[in-house]
Symmetry: C2
Amino acid sequence: MKKAIMLISIGISMIGIATAQNETSKAKAGTQWLRHVVLFKFKDDAKPADIKLVEDGFRALATKINLIKKFEWGINNSPENLNQGLTHCFLVSFSSTKDRDDYLVHPDHKAFVELLKPFLDKATVVDYWVQE
Amino acid sequence: MKKAIMLISIGISMIGIATAQNETSKAKAGTQWLRHVVLFKFKDDAKPADIKLVEDGFRALATKINLIKKFEWGINNSPENLNQGLTHCFLVSFSSTKDRDDYLVHPDHKAFVELLKPFLDKATVVDYWVQE
């Protein structure tokens, strides 16, 4: 019986591990997400190395700023031609309005905006609480 | 020993259940996501009932069209004033380029676009494969 309890306990621990592996590192189960959708159009004279600097800079924010609970990004491949020149999308997820607001004034975020500015033609930003 | 194997087996089965519960209904574990980000600016004379029609119409697509593997949406609440008049974001996820392409020409999607047109000022659409 003790063996049985021990093995059920192993089973339950393993469920815990399985659940954790399906959550993004800093996210809790059942979190309501506040999405921060950031789209960039770069200047015509921005070089690939400049754009790489911005991509890496934004990715670095996600590791530096603990307020960011999920992060992903990608490069536009829509065939609809409705991207208004915007080529990059960064999708940042917060779990509260306060975290989003604190992120916006965070020194690391402000430094990133300064790094970005020389290469940026236009940014479009929409935030929303996730509905289904 | 048989009991031990049986209980480990229960543990593994339960991991399977836990994993399934953390995936969106139509999504497979380990799926690479192609995001389809759709932003709308409505005409100034669009009434709340018109906008509700569009919101409900888009949500209905997610249940009607099986190519859509994940769906969420929300209304802009960004304090940055960089939303370029865009108030609504719909985030649609596909698991292949073919599914995205088939969605774009799907009769239900085309019907939705016709429903939307009278109320739409501007759409911005960016698709991307998720990178981290």
